[in-house]
Structure formats: C-alpha cells, structure tokens
Subunit: 469 residues, 4 copies
C-alpha cells in the first residue's frame, strides 16, 4: 500500500533493529510456562493422529510413525533429555519441531484439521482434570485428618466464640467438624467445575471447525472426555472452566485462612489452647525464645496469591471480542500458580494436624470465664414460662451483678439468683453445668456429643464410600 | 475491674459523649440495607413459630397470635404503611418491635430457640433462592432471543475473527450461538450454586444449637429447603453460598462484557455491521450527529461493580476466626448490588437484541477482504497430498503475492497459482467460494449451516423442556 | 440504508415496544447517583458563564440572568424544594432543564463551548478536592487522639508481638505511635493525589477543545485550580485521579483493619488488655452476657467495600479505547461509596479511642510470660564478647531449661545460668528488668520512653503547624 | 507441659514423620524468590558493619574481615559460582552461612543489633528504589518516542472518537500526546512513591529497636537514604511502600491496556489506520494469511497480572495484627512479578512505536464519514446568534436529512441548508473544511496544530531537563 508511510527511522531507531526479533520472541513466548503441559499435549496429539488415520485423512503407516515419534519425545522430556528453546515459542511448536527432526516432513501432517487455538484448551482441560482430582484427594485427606482428631478428642470442651468473645461452650470436635463441612462444599464445587472441564474442545480448529471429515466423538472417547463442545467459536474463546476453578479454590483458600487464623490465635501465649510441633514452627534470628507458627501464617498469607490469580484472569477476559485473542495466553500463569500454591497448603495442613498438642485443661478452664451458660439460664427461665426476651433481660442483670461481685454464674447461691427472679429453683444447678449444657444442645447439627458423633460417622462414611469407588 | 483505667476524658473528649449513641447506631445499623429481606424474614418466623407450637415449646394459641401479628406486619410493609427506624438496628428487630406493639409481651416468645446469627442466613438463603431463579429465567430469555435471531439470520455470512483479524468466514448465526453456549454454562453454574443455597440454617442458633426440642426438618419442609445444615458452627460462619453466587455472576458478567464489546465495535463507522435502534442509544450534548451505543457501554462498564463485589466479600471473609463475626454483616451490600446490577443488564440486552438492524451486505462484503479462504486453500493442498505445514507455507507465499498485486485469492488465475504449486487445478475454484467454504466446515460444532441449525434446534429443545417443567 | 434489515419483530417482540424508552432511561440515567454533585455543577457553570461573558462569547446581561437562575436553583436544591426526575438523565441536564423553565431559551447559551464530557470531570474534581480535605482532617484528628492517648499512658508496658507471639517488651504508647506514622503516610499520599486532582478540565469540550475564544486559565482562577489540563483528549478520557484516590484510601483502610484486628484481639477474654465502652459495643439477641466489639468488626469488614471499589474502577477502565466512553459513568458508585465508607470509620474510631479503658495490670503481667528478655540476655553476652549467633544459641538453651523447670528468666539463679555460660555475672539482674529493658532500647525510633516521647512531640508539632495554616 | 496431650500418632501418622522437616522447609523457604535481592542484602550488611565498627560495637579489624568476606560472596554470586540451597531458608541466612564458612565464628557478629525483620525491608527498599528509577527511565523513553512520532506526523488527521463513534476531527499527534500526559502522571506517582520508599528501616531490629548504641543516620548516609524511619514497630510492620508502588503500576498498566486496545482496533481490516511491522506480529499455525498484533494483545492481557498482584498484597495485609507476621513474606512474589511484567512491556512498546506504518490516506478518508463537523456547524449558528441548544437541534435535523439523502455536510448546497435555518450563508463553506476545523480548535490543550506543537515542545523540554540532571 503506497499510501502508508513509516517514520524516518534513521533519526531515532537503529539500536532496536538488531534486537527486535529477540525482544519480541522473549516477550511473546510461553514455552517457559506451558512446557509443563507436554505430557497432555502429546497425549492429545496421539489421539488426534489416531482419529486422522481412522478417518483416512492420513495414512495408517504415517500415523504410526508420528505416534512413535511423539512417544519418543515424551520419554526424552520425562527423563530430562529434551532441550527446550525459547525460539520454539510454545509447547506445541517445540514438540512439532522435535518431531520434524525425528521423522522429517511427515511431521507436518500432525497439524491437519486442528489449530493451536483448540490444541491449547485441550491441553489445559486434560491437565486441569488431573489436578482437580489431585486437589480433591488432598481435601479428602484433610477431612479425614480432621475427623480423626475430632474422634480422638471427643471429650475436650472449650468456649465457642462469636465476635471473638466467649459465647457458649462447645466440643472442640464440633469446631473441627465445622471445617469438614466447609471442605465438603469445596469438594462439591470442584466436582461441579469438573463437569464443565470434562468437554473435548479439539476439532474446533481455529474458530470455525473444519472441512476434513474428522470424528470428534472418537477423540473424546480416546481421551476420556464425557462431552464434545457444541460450538467451535465458543470453544476457542472460552476460559470459563479456568475461572470457575480459580473461584472454587479462592473459596477453599478463604476457609484455610480462617482455620490458620484460629490456630494462630490459639497458639498465642494468651490463648495457649494448642501447641504446634517444633517441626512446623521456626525461630527468630534475633529473639532466642521465639517459636513462630510460620506455616499457619503462610497458609493465611498465601490466600493473597489465590485471590489475586482469580482477579488476574477475570481482568484478562473482561471485554475481549470473540473469538481467540492472544491475551488469553495469560491464563496459564494464574492457573499454574493457584495449583502450585494450594496443593502444598493442603498437604502441610494435614501433616500439621497430626503434630499438634491440645492443651485440654486450658481449654476447659477457659469455659469458666465469660458466663458461657447465660443462654442456658435464659432458656431455663423460658421453660419456666417467661417469654424469651424477658428472660434474656433478667439474665443480663444477673451477669452484671456477677461482674460487680467478681463471681461466676456457677458460684452464685440460689438466693442471690432468686433476688432477680423467683422462678429460679434448685434445679438450676443442673443447668449451670458446662458438660451437661453441651450435652443438652442436641438439636440436629448442635454441639452435643451424640450429634457431633453423628456427623463424624457420616463423614467417615462419605470418605469410605469415596475410597471404594 | 479496679485495675482498669480510663483516659482522663475531660481534657479531650466531651463533644462526643452526647452524640455517641447516635453515631454508633447509624454506624452499626443495617436496617436501611436489610429491610428488603422483610418478606423472607416473616416467612421464616412463621415457619419457626409453627414448629415451636408443634413441638409444644410454645402454646398453639400463642403461636397463632404471633403468626397473625406477623402477617399484619407483612401487609403493612407491602403497602408502604410501615415506618422503618434506624434505631431498630436490623430487619429482625424492626419486625419484632412491631410485633411487640401489636401483641405485647407474647411477641418475645418468637425468638425462642433461634438467634439472629441463624436468622439472617435463613433470610438470605430464602431471598437468594428466589433471585437465582429470577436470574436463570432472564438468562434463558436471552438465550431464546439469541436463538431466534440465529434462526432468522441463518443465511448471513461474515468474517470470523481471531486477534480481531479476519480469520475464516462464519455464519452470523454461528457467532450468536456461541453466546447461547456461554449462557448455558452460566445457568448450570447458578443451578449448582442453588443446590448449596438450598439448605436450612435455622436451628443452629447462636453457634452451638439449642437444648429446646426443635424439629429442623419440619421447618425445612415448611420453607421448601432440600437439606438441613449439619454443623451449627459452620452454619453461622458460612457465607460460601454468597461467594459462589457472586463468582458465577462475575463469569456471566464477563460474557456480557464481551458481547457488548463486539456489538460496540460492530456499531462503529468502520465496521458498520449492525445498527442499534435509536431507543437504545443516546446523543451528545455537544455533537449533534452522535448516536452512541450507551446501553452496551454501560453493560460492559458495569462488570466492574460485579467483579468489585466479589472481591469485596472475599476480602471480608479472609482470615476471620470462627464463628460469626460482625464483619459478615457486610455481605449484603455486595450481594444486593450484584443482583440489582445484573438483572437489568439481562433484561435490556434481550430488548436490545429485538431492536437491532443487521447490515447484511456490509458483513458479506467484509468476507472478501483479508484472504479468509487461505486455510481452505491450504487444506485443498493437503488433500492433494502436501503435508499441512508445507501447504501453509505455500499459501502464505500466494497471499503475499496477492497483497503485492492488490488482488484477492478469488481473482487470481489458475496459472498465477500454479506458479507457486502445480498441484493446483481448476477444481480450486470450488474451494475459493465463501459460501461453499462455510458449508464445508461441517465438523461437529462447526460453522456450516447444518451444524449451526443442529445447535439451534438443541437449544430450542432445552428451552422448551424448561418451560414444560 | 436499504441493505439493512430488521428481524421481523411481530413474531417475538411486542411486549417491549411500549416499555423500551422507560427501560433505557432508567438503565442509563445517573441522576440518582450524581445529583449529589449539584453544588459543584452549579459552581462550575457560574464560573464558565462568567468566562463566556468576559470573552464576549455571550452578553454580560445574558450571563447575569443565567447566573441568577443557577443561584436560585442551588437554593432550591439546598432546601429540598427541587424535584429530581429520572427523565433528566443526569445532574447537568436536570439543572439546565430547570434553568430553561426559569429563564427560557437563554438557558441554552450556558452549554456554549463545553460538553458533558469535560463538565462531569469538573464536578468530580471540585467534589473530590473537598472530600480529600475532609478526609485528611479526619485522619489528623485520629492522629491527634492517638497521640493524646500515647502521652497519657506513657508508662504502660506490654508485650510486643511478632507472629502474634510475645517478642519483646514495649510501651503501649510506642504501639499507638506506630499508627500515627502509618496515618501520616496516608495523609501524604492523599496530598500527593490532591495535586493531580487540582487540575481544571473544563474547556476540553467533547474531546478536541473548541474554536470559541475561551480563557481556561481565568476559569481555573475563579474555581481555585492550580493547573489547567494540557491535552483535551486525555482530559476527557482520564480517571486516574479517582483511581489514585481509591488506592490511597485502600491502603488507609488496610491500616484501619489492622488496628481493628488488634483491638478485637485485645478485647477478648484471653487477652483482656482493653475494655471498650458499652456505647461502642452491642449485645446478642440470644446470649445475655455478650458484649461484642461490633464497631471494630465493622471497621475491619468494611475494608472489603473499599478494596472492591478500587478493583471495580480498575476493571471499568481496563482496555477502554480513547477517548470518553459511557463505561466511565460507572466511576461514581465506587467513588461515592468509598468516601461514604471511610469517613464514618475515621470519625467513630476517634470517638472510640476516647472511650476505652486500659487494663494496665493485665498488660504488665503479660510481659512476664514468654521470655520477653531473651534478646536482652543474648545482647548482654554479646557485650561480654560472645558473637551474636552463639549468644542466641546459648540463650535458646537457657529458655528451654526454664520451660522444663517452669521458671522464668527473671527467677533463675545466677548459678543456674552460669551452667550454660560462665560469662554471666551478677550484673545480669540489671538486664533482666522489664522496665529497664524498655528504657535501654533507645535507638532512634525505638521503644524507650525518651524515643517515644520524641515522636509524640514531633507529631504534636506536625498537627499544630497544620492547624496554623 | 504435662497437661498437654498429643493425638496417639501411631494410628494415623507415621508416613509424615520422616518427610516433615523437608516439607516444612520447602513450604516456608523463600530463598528461590528472594535470592535476587543478594546484592542489596550485601550492600546493606556492609553498611551495617561499618556502622558497628564506627560505634565500637565490634572491632574495626573484625568489621574489615566481615566486609572482605561479604564482597567475595557477592563476586561469587555475580559470576554464578555460588550454590543456593533450599535449607538456607532465605537470602539473609544463605549469605551468613557462606560468610561463616569463609571467616568462621566471627561471621556471627554481623547480625548484632539487627533482625531479619528490618533487614528484609532494607533489601526491598534498596531494590525498589533502583527499580522505580529504571521504570521511570523506560516511561520517559516511551514518552520521547511518542513525542517524536507526534512531531513527524504533525499533519496527519483522523477522526476523534467518543463511545467509539466518530466525534470530531483531530490530529493523530494530538492523540499521541494524550498518552504523554498519562505517562507524565505515572512518572509523578512513581516519584511520589519513591519519597516513601527512600526511608532507612535498619536499626528497628525485631520490632522495638535496640540497646546497642547504633547510629542509624550514619547508615542512611552510607546507603543513600533521605530519611530514617521514626517508629520501630511501624517499620517492621509496614508494606505501604510496596502497595503504593503496585497501585501506581496498576494505573500505568491500565493506560497501556488502552493504548494496546486502540492500536489493535486500528490494525483491524476495518479500521486499517496503522500497520505494525512484521517483526512485532506473529502468524497462525492454521491460517496462512494471518498477521496478528500479538505484542499488543499481550500488553493488554498482562494488565491482569498487575491488577492481580495489587489485590494479592492488599489481601495479605488485610487485618494483620502488628507487628511483623510471616504472611508478609508473601510480598515478594507480587512485587517481583509486577516489575518483571511492566518493564518488558514498556521496552517493547517503545520498539514497536518505531516500527509502525501510518495509513495517512485511510485516516484522512475516515474523517469524511460520520458528520465530524456537525459541532462546528452548530457553533457557527451560535456565533450567528442562536442559543447553543437550539443550534444543536437544528444541526441534528440537517444530519438526519443528509443520512436520508446519502450526502455529507460538506456536499450539501447552501440552499439545502437554508431550508433548515436561514442564518446559514456562504461563509459556512469555510466552516465545513476539516483541516480548518482542526486549526480552529486552538483553545488551550485543543487539537489545533499550534496547541499540539506547544505540548510537544513542553514535553521535549521536560525530557531534556531530565537528561541534564
């Protein structure tokens, strides 16, 4: 086009010209990041080639030579004998170039009826299916460890907190089982996400499908995909499956940050409810006495990466026109980083749980501070016929009286209590017993031992059923 | 506690003392925000009271009077005759106070065996179940509108884009159906989320359950919940169901932002593929000729609120100790804002789609620029026996030649082409026909009319089945 | 354009046609949100009209009538006598329409040589300048309150924490002054941001400037802007000044969330370092004994809104082509919400600080647990000639011995210590005195009273200087 | 503590015991990430040791041996002869261990009167000061390149866009200079941030300062810090300086994403305003004709990482109690990633700008579509005495007439125009000339060549002044 013009470069360009190709190469290459997908890339290519042969798009013998070559390349990468080069741009090209060196021109037939646009999502989906399964496995192991602890310590009582204030007495096991519920939901979310990952994209080609008589359902069967994508434009434009995964892990990481927070609080001098094994703590370079719950702090802190990765990809995808845009290459850094962050957290937390000491006495002592049975006393009055709100107010006054006298509810005399309300009788002593109070809270899902054990058994059953399948 | 001391206030306090209660009240009150939950709050209270009576925790007649009072309050709020007051703190207290005015002390029995901690999640879950259904309805309507357009315009062709560059010719309908697929996944995600919202929290009380002999499964049946929560600490600490919803809507909003982006591009002078009805555009206060696609820009822009709301609540929940903390009150602003933002977007986009004009000729003309059939030519060579990568290179050279001569592939003579590769024969003309090229791409999910129609029918069936149930 | 076609609407449209204009109106209108800018909008219009008259673009008498009309409108809005209507679209049109009703056709001259594109940023900049000043004022008041507390409690000692473990003894005042430093940086960031807000945008018109002989520097003088924007395209495309403000407030909110966290911890039964006045706490609807630090929890939780607002606008602006796009209208919700969230937090925290009780004895007692002087003992050995790392190790062993024996460093005999290192002599007793240990840490910025008082005086001076100007 | 108990491990632990130390080590180690700080760590240690000697805290000769050792270690790392080991935990320990191997026990004296808590922020501040300077340099180079282009192409005209619709004609150079203004603000923000990075933290030790008679101002002078931190608790707790940097770069990245968006649009077949050099584009693996603006797409996409990193660290810091917590170790990943992402973007964009071709004719032709001079015509009527809003309406009608007749404003006859308004005369032809229209917009900051050149000169001067200093 004659009408176009270029800035007279001599004046101010020059130093770039030589470097340009290298600058651009290293700016755009993704090989450093996506090479970890090599096994999935080769697995996908082998299935693709088998299909091409079955459909007679390429010859059987050509297919066999290509497959042989791909397998050799996989072995080389497995054993570390493969040299990646930034000029290969991405994992797809790296493997194809290597194949060319091995089997010559024939290698070029591999890319018939596909594009890197559908190939990369194939790799990502195969990879993510595996990783979701891995992560679910780690969560279930964590649930198992929590449940075991809950069973062992079924008789340990402690204050339950709302607003970080003493609220009502609970079983420590009831607390632990709250997390098995959160993690169950995390598993469910990941399983739901998995359904949407488990869809074959290959055969969508660049964006419009292909004129070659391919058989996508055959490829799906070879690779173990439940479904085949229905619209080729959507298929190459879509990163929902990654976003949904990053969201599910963000919620999981939030749960973990709360667990870490509680255990950090409980390791403090002031709470002193638990002691974490030395192996999971580190010291200070300046303060000889320090034993820091670093592992828990890092668990809590790393939620930052996981939230950040979600927002990263949401930003990338915002307002992109259809179909594929190169921006989408940037999906891999957040995906890999989230996986690399969450897996060690889950592993180490399982390990740490097996190495904590419970300060049973300190937990139990704590239930005697803070008037934990005030609700029980109010409920007692309700049973005697007083409307709840009135009972609430009456007990509020008794608590105030105790505070002024430096007494606890348990140590008040019946007479002192009757000054506030003559519905109170000797039977109140039964009420003001922490362990009995816990046992009484036997509503479905409540903290009573029988209810807590019910959930323990249910979770054990869930985990067992899982192992069987 | 004698040892405590207070800063000598005279020196520097003073002006606050009088205002304090009002400042704190307005700082902590949520009534302005949560009053929209009133119908659900009353619905939940009625079910709770019915259960209390059935379990003989309160008397039948008391229950009836409470229920009658609650119904009257609902009527008053419905008709706008109810006065909300910031001193009521939250919707629960506002209703209970009103009940007290109506039926006196008896009102106080309503709060037996529950807490605001489980009551607020009950309200939120009832509300969110309704809103998820509403949003799914709006998405399905949007899918229906897209599918209708796809059917009407089944013969309109246009360039398909990757990297915003002309890639391959596609059907406009194929493009539209890509969005029905995205929105299908959005529906699925919301349905999966719904399962986890559909769990009764009531009866978890403050955090530990209750000693009253309540029947949570009965309440669940009355209110239409599929499940009953299993651990009371988890129940009052959990906001997963909101986070999951906000994540699902964030992905939906991302899809909408992409659609808006495309349609804004297509409304530009340069693309000129579509014209949006004047009713959906606004003018400029200074430039008389302007007709701006404001509605689409606002759709694209409002994804910001929806992403922001997700990160808002993720931040709130990060690192919170169990169980309930007041921070969690802040879940309502992002939840309501996301719902209030997404619903009008879905409605207006359905309306807008019914008011666009398609510039069929301009779209078709555009397919003649940019060598859209280069892939087809390469595939042609592959069929003639040339390996794909080599064919790709050969066509690349032909394209370069065309660019220099100012020609298109379609207007090259066979001879000119044969200069590059003597595998090319007269039958290539068949290949270089845009409409035929589209029809050829008949792989599953491809852009060929038969494939596009297949998906149209499938989606029509999905929507129909839905209406039946 | 004949070639365009419209979907045969009868089949599936219909119900929208009548509603369309209203739907679109309410979807695009911003009047509900931007009406709060009215005073700035009118202030800007008056300055603009004065300039138009001075430059003889409109007649002096016309200008006077317009100004008179605008002032009347302002009075009406001030007193609540003005009726806003959604059909007015935005605050600019609402005022112009009202002006037209007042002074007729002449009103139309007001919009000469300007556009809503530059007008809205004018309003936002005027508004934000005021609000930044307000927020800085609130922060300085908070710094003043912290400093007063620090002065009053200069003799209160407590454990300093790292990893939430006891680390070294500190002055409570030293802790408080850490926050005056954080808040000083917040002020600086807001002041730096202010410089970039303080730039006149008006006169950039739609995007390209104007042919009218306007005098932008005169308008800047009238409105009190330091600078005039240099490029009209940039001026209407730019929302940096809001993003920078939202970032600065996000960091401020983070500081506040940390303060709230500490004070929530300290209000727990286990720490019990402080007691917050009843006026700043709320109770429980079910547990009569509860006194919850709700205000602090809400401060901590509301950081979520403020983070969310930042990411909201970052998302909106990502990838927008130049110049103005309607997406940018969505800047106001996050801006206003951040301002409405942060101001009450700052106010209430100042008030709360004047209403806390310090449990001096409990804080001091806590310094005796956790071997807070281990570093001092190590330093003592270093002074005696032992390399630091070796001293660190030696003290580590002594601490372990104490733990096993249930002793503290202070209660060990010289002999017991000498078993670990014979460099230890009687002079070590001086070292193992908490108050002396604090006084010794007199390095610049250290916790020694003299250093803490130095900073107190410095901050007092800063605040005083501020008041003078 | 006798009262503590440990879960009977035999049952379910076991397999972890052997691995534990390694798992924890690799979970907590930061050496892989923070080793890049080695030069700053050594620089800081040398300054620290010099001060210890000057203050006679250690002997001159000891200091010299330590310094000698540190310099050797730096050389070894520089040349790649140093072996990092994950068991070294972090860069501080790695260097100290190496020093010990070199000079024996004496190495232990290095850590006198400091802690890793103040050491790490020292390293980060030294590092960030350098990187801010580097980034500012790259931005200024980009501004220089934009300004040179603006100068060369000063006579190229194009449509200015609002809402991506043709709005008014502008100079291409005016567009380019809008970015020099955005980038100027980015530089200012980074310079303001720099002031708050340029503060010496060392000497704050663990959190409380030290009893050793250190001289922090001397260390500040040695290391080139303008200020010394004022409160030791704040100093080790503070990561504001990183958050502020991440915010500033997020805004910068947003600007870059907008630039990329515009240039991607302009490279499309439909706009065709510019052509990017082949060296900056890549092709397609399947479509031989493709030339994709990958570099620009990646610039746009990578804003995701940069936004994500900001949210990452904001999340980490939210609600952390004072002072140092291990969570804060997680600041380095987002910091380094943002720096590693933004620098290549800035470099490559400078390079790309030197390799674009401008399609001058196409840009100019585009100004003839879309009634770009409608505002000018309205202004013409205003000058003739018509109020602006009325003129706006009149021109709106003329535009509508043109659209129906398929004419442009420039080709209408005077008579046709007078049908709408008889104020129109022959002098209107002058008005309806694109180039003249541009020249007329000579208000300060407007698009007229003289105004655009004024800013070009101003920016040239800014850049020149910078080079001098």
């Amino acid at each position: 086009m004659v009408s176009k013009e270029k800035a007279v470069k001599k004046a101010w360009a020059g130093r770039f010209t030589k470097e340009t190709s290298h600058i651009v190469e290293s700016f755009t290459a993704s090989i450093d990041i996506d090479k970890r997908l090599y096994a999935y890339d080769i697995q996908g290519s082998i299935a693709h080639v088998k299909m091409l042969a079955k459909q007679k798009i390429i010859k059987e013998e050509d297919a066999n030579r290509i497959i042989q070559g791909l397998k050799e390349i996989k072995d080389e990468i497995d054993t570390g004998d493969f040299l990646f080069d930034i000029s290969d741009e991405d994992i797809h090209m790296a493997i194809e170039m290597a194949l060319k060196k091995k089997i010559g021109k024939l290698a070029a037939k591999l890319h018939t009826a596909r594009s890197r646009n559908d190939q990369i999502v194939l790799d990502e989906r195969l990879y993510l299916k595996d990783e979701i399964k891995n992560i679910i496995g780690l969560i279930q192991e964590l649930r198992a460890n929590l449940t075991r602890l809950a069973k062992i310590y079924i008789d340990v009582i402690m204050p339950g907190y709302t607003h970080l204030q003493h609220a009502q007495p609970i079983l420590f096991s009831h607390y632990l089982m709250a997390y098995t519920e959160m993690f169950r939901r995390d598993v469910e979310r990941l399983e739901d996400c998995y359904k949407r990952v488990d869809v074959l994209p290959l055969g969508s080609c660049a964006l419009a499908g292909t004129a070659f008589p391919i058989d996508r359902h055959y490829v799906a069967r070879l690779l173990g995909f439940k479904k085949v994508s229905e619209n080729s434009i959507d298929t190459v434009s879509d990163r929902d499956f990654i976003l949904e995964f990053l969201s599910a892990v963000a919620i999981l990481a939030m749960h973990l940050s709360r667990f870490a927070e509680d255990f950090i609080l409980w390791s403090s001098e002031e709470f002193n409810f638990i002691e974490i094994d030395d192996a999971f703590c580190t010291g200070s370079s300046i303060m000889p006495q320090k034993k820091n719950p670093d592992v828990l702090e890092l668990i809590r802190g790393r939620v930052g990466h996981i939230y950040g990765n979600l927002f990263n990809l949401l930003t990338v995808m915002k307002g992109l026109p259809l179909s594929y845009n190169r921006d989408m290459q940037e999906d891999k850094r957040p995906l890999f980083d989230t996986i690399d962050t969450i897996k060690p957290i889950l592993s180490i937390l399982s390990a740490l749980l097996q190495n904590i000491e419970i300060n049973r006495k300190r937990m139990e002592d704590a239930t005697r501070a803070g008037f934990l049975l005030a609700t029980d006393l109010a409920d007692y009055l309700v049973v005697k016929g007083m409307p709840f709100r009135e009972a609430h107010e009456t007990v509020g006054k008794i608590v105030k009286y105790c505070e002024e006298k430096g007494k606890s509810l348990e140590t008040l005399s019946i007479e002192e209590m009757r000054n506030f309300c003559n519905l109170i009788n000797n039977d109140v002593k039964e009420i003001l017993d922490i362990k009995k109070a816990i046992s009484r809270r036997s509503s479905f899902g409540g903290t009573a031992p029988m209810e807590t054990l019910r959930l323990i058994k249910k979770v054990e059953k869930q985990l067992e059923d899982r192992t069987k399948t």
